[in-house]
Symmetry: C2
Subunit: 523 residues, 2 copies
């Protein structure tokens, strides 16, 4: 493992300042020095990336697919070394990390398939109509094209699947853009291993140098330098609201504003309707306890808010939830900063006179997060918007409504969310269309009778809710649709046939789906 900055095909360490990563479980500094990227190194990475942009946009879908699949191969070839380093740096268990690695290589292969097939560029052709009255129609052809260097912020909670070679990098590379990754301070070694794998794959498949670089540094310094760099063309981020909003603001205040796709905080409300509460409250409580504590609650889709009607059934439900939660041992959180924030935010909420503690797993060791259920009345929740702030970790707030109208009022007061879940019996929804309407207006994904954790990587997935859940509700960061974040349409009018890209040639040599003169087809 080489901890230096990886700029194109070269390692670089111009600064004396180094970062180290830390084991949250062992509470020790881990082996490996990671020199911070200097301004000169940042400029060099962007210069190479900008230079690579023009060559890389000419690389065929088939060749990009080979590159992406080779990245997957190289990651798998790292074997247990990668899993062990990620485990040390994140305190996530081996099984989870192996699963996450599977998700990561599957994502790379999914985008490989997508660009190999080729229809994702949304080619549209309007052929010329020279004899149209009063004016002839010119030949007009449009497709999606790449935009240039994309900055990817790696995420603390997914050291593999939302990091160095995660969904953001995979989709940006698939779309034809060079990527500059900001390594996460919590998993610098994992990043170094995966960055080397990407670089190896780029060299083996003949990609232009600069198609990928990886830099070390802190969020406020390196992060802001990357966002403000004149050659950056888009930003992908997964993390806290505070950091995401700071990036969004910086990017919009640039002389040339650039798009930011930031997935920020979400409390992913779960609505428990009366009949379901009555008929299967205990089963729901057990399933819910698992979802709240999965990965020590460190998922963007963690259910942080449970909304239900008060009464004897809710008391029984809460008892079952308390029991289930209490049986789950506290586990080490991703890093000390996240753990400290969890303890602080959790305590701040519990200190409020109106908030009751329902279930609390005793704290075991330094660095761990105890699962917690608290509750408030709907009236309080409606009065205090700060109760909607995410407590990142295994925490959930139960909002007790006195009736169904109050339940709707709570939903109408919610901020934008990634997901919402409705737990209901068959036939129970049909009379609550008002509630479903209010919910759908506030989220990117609604689920019936499930848990929000576990985000399928598939064409129909949408992982992107209204602000503040994300900075751009139009785009998803999970699933094949994620590629659309890193392209823009380009129209060629009256273009020379021999200069048209294959996607727009009359003969459709790639055999992709296109709209020609208003008709979809592969002709």
């Amino acid at each position: 493992m080489d901890g230096r900055n990886l700029i194109g095909h070269q390692y670089s360490a111009l600064a004396d300042d180094i970062l180290n990563s830390f084991s949250p479980a062992m509470q020790t500094v881990l082996q490996g020095d990671f020199p911070i990227a200097t301004k000169e190194e940042i400029d060099q990475a962007f210069a190479l990336a900008t230079q690579a942009t023009r060559q890389y946009r000419r690389v065929s879908g088939a060749a990009k697919a080979k590159f992406l699949r080779q990245i997957a191969e190289e990651i798998m070839a790292l074997g247990d070394v990668l899993i062990e380093r990620a485990r040390q740096e994140s305190a996530l268990p081996e099984g989870r990390l192996k699963g996450e690695r599977g998700r990561t290589v599957n994502q790379l292969r999914l985008f490989a398939d997508l660009v190999e097939e080729g229809s994702w560029v949304e080619a549209v052709i309007d052929q010329a109509i020279p004899d149209r009255k009063p004016f002839p129609r010119a030949d007009i052809r449009r497709m999606s094209v790449s935009i240039g260097p994309v900055v990817v912020f790696t995420a603390s909670n997914f050291p593999l699947a939302f990091s160095t070679a995660g969904g953001d990098t995979a989709s940006a590379l698939a779309a034809g853009n060079p990527v500059i990754v900001k390594a996460h301070e919590s998993h610098l070694g994992t990043n170094a291993l995966v960055a080397a794998a990407i670089q190896q794959a780029a060299q083996k498949t003949g990609m232009p140098e600069g198609v990928f670089s990886s830099l070390n540094g802190t969020g406020p310094e390196l992060g802001q330098a990357l966002v403000r760099h004149p050659q950056a063309k888009a930003i992908a981020f997964t993390g806290s609201y505070r950091a995401g909003k700071a990036i969004f603001d910086s990017a919009n205040q640039r002389p040339e504003p650039i798009p930011v796709f930031a997935e920020m905080g979400s409390i992913n409300p779960v609505l428990l309707l009366p009949q379901a509460l009555q008929e299967r409250g205990t089963a729901v409580a057990q399933q819910y306890a698992q979802s709240v504590t999965l990965g020590v609650g460190q998922f963007c889709t963690n259910p942080g808010l449970l909304i239900a009607q008060d009464g004897p059934e809710l008391t029984t439900f809460t008892q079952a939830l308390t029991e289930s939660i209490s049986a789950i041992a506290p586990a080490t959180m991703l890093n000390q900063g996240i753990c400290d924030n969890y303890q602080k935010n959790r305590q701040q909420l519990l200190d409020l006179a109106e908030v009751s503690l329902e279930a609390n797993v005793a704290l075991a060791e330094k660095g761990t997060g105890q699962a917690t259920v608290a509750s408030v009345t709907a009236a309080t929740f409606l009065q205090q918007p700060s109760l909607q702030e995410e407590v990142f970790g295994p925490f959930t707030l139960l909002v007790k409504c006195k009736d169904q109208a109050e339940m709707t009022a709570v939903v109408e007061a919610l901020q934008g969310q990634l997901t919402a879940t409705v737990i209901a019996e068959e036939g129970e929804l049909q009379t609550r269309v008002d509630l479903l309407d209010a919910l759908q207006e506030r989220v990117g994904r609604v689920l019936l009778n499930g848990v929000p954790t576990g985000v399928e990587v598939s064409p129909a997935m949408h992982h992107g809710g209204p602000f503040p859940a994300t900075s751009n509700a139009r785009f998803t960061s999970v699933g094949t649709g994620a590629i659309q974040r890193f392209v823009r349409p380009l129209t060629l009018q009256n273009w020379s046939a021999d200069l048209l890209p294959p996607e727009l040639q009359d003969a459709n040599p790639l055999g992709i789906w296109r709209m020609v003169n208003g008709q979809w087809g592969k002709e």
Copy 2:
């Protein structure tokens, strides 16, 4: 014509302050009082629009199509009254306005066809795979949904096609969103007539009240109040960079930032390659003169920059251009503000020592704009970025390059543009791939051997270039793609079959194109 604010189905005039419109050709105040919208009236329009959102999103594509076609009918039924008022307010000739009305009603019908057909929602269905290992796949279905009240700023230069019932309104309504229009101070009467037509159509086709409102006021006051209103969900704007950037900044600084689709300034460079210059310079000069002066140069796609290699052929070309331009009589501009700005910006440029006046049509009357050709060397152009600022009107700047390398350097220095045009002979482009690459990276549409004015309304059109040409290069404001600005994806997971919208039902009752389990089709 009723000049009051139109809020839902009611007229309202709470303020004493009124606006009037002015005839730039006659230099007189026109008949009609237009009371400024008060805060109360703005709130009322948003309250109605928000209320209408939920009802209107349930309106079928077929019913929305009826509404849009009825708007077209009502506009045509206004007959000459509309054309005459628009002529008085804009000084645009009758023929042009009739053409623009045709474009306006065609756009409404185009979006009617689009939503009636229905595939535009991009439905994607991943059916459940209960026996998948290691985890089952849930049933996941996605489609585009409306976002809520859209604020439309009407444009000075298209009193019909980019105004009250123009492309922004048509696409926002087609997407299922209520629209609140800010009337343009230059054509308040035209706006009042068209707003009444929309309101009539809404009532006749049974649309919810609040699906459309029209308010009078000034840009800085009413405009900013609309952008900052908590219930506004998106902004559409066509106009100057200064106004567009102010809107963009305000929208991003809101507690809940909202998307702005602002089409701002563009100088639409035209590259004249040597062989074409040599072989058909005179013909190109004549065509170019027509494009520069079309509509007194008041088009967003007006060619404001001509880039060519210096030499005897360019001298001949410039003489031909000068002759053609001099033959075109100056005409009245859209309003006094635009005319004053034109004179000021034009003079400021001509006052620079390095800028030469090549052709100048003598100024005839107050309120008119004289066609002007100026020139600079490429060296000067490269040193002074301010030479890229748009001079809105019949103005073009010729950049004289000493060789082809300097021509590429000029293109590499260009800001984002709506369009770029290349004038070249067959075979001349194949050796200039560097130039084409540089051009394509900077624009939303490139044309070969044509003029940028005249933007086809069709599926393949992309009217949206990199910043500062627009605030969002991912979306078009012309053509069917414009509807995508006003929707976001929503995913329904494990949803109840009887609650699925028709677009996502297994039986595909609307017969739309969908992707089901990764395959496109209408099954």
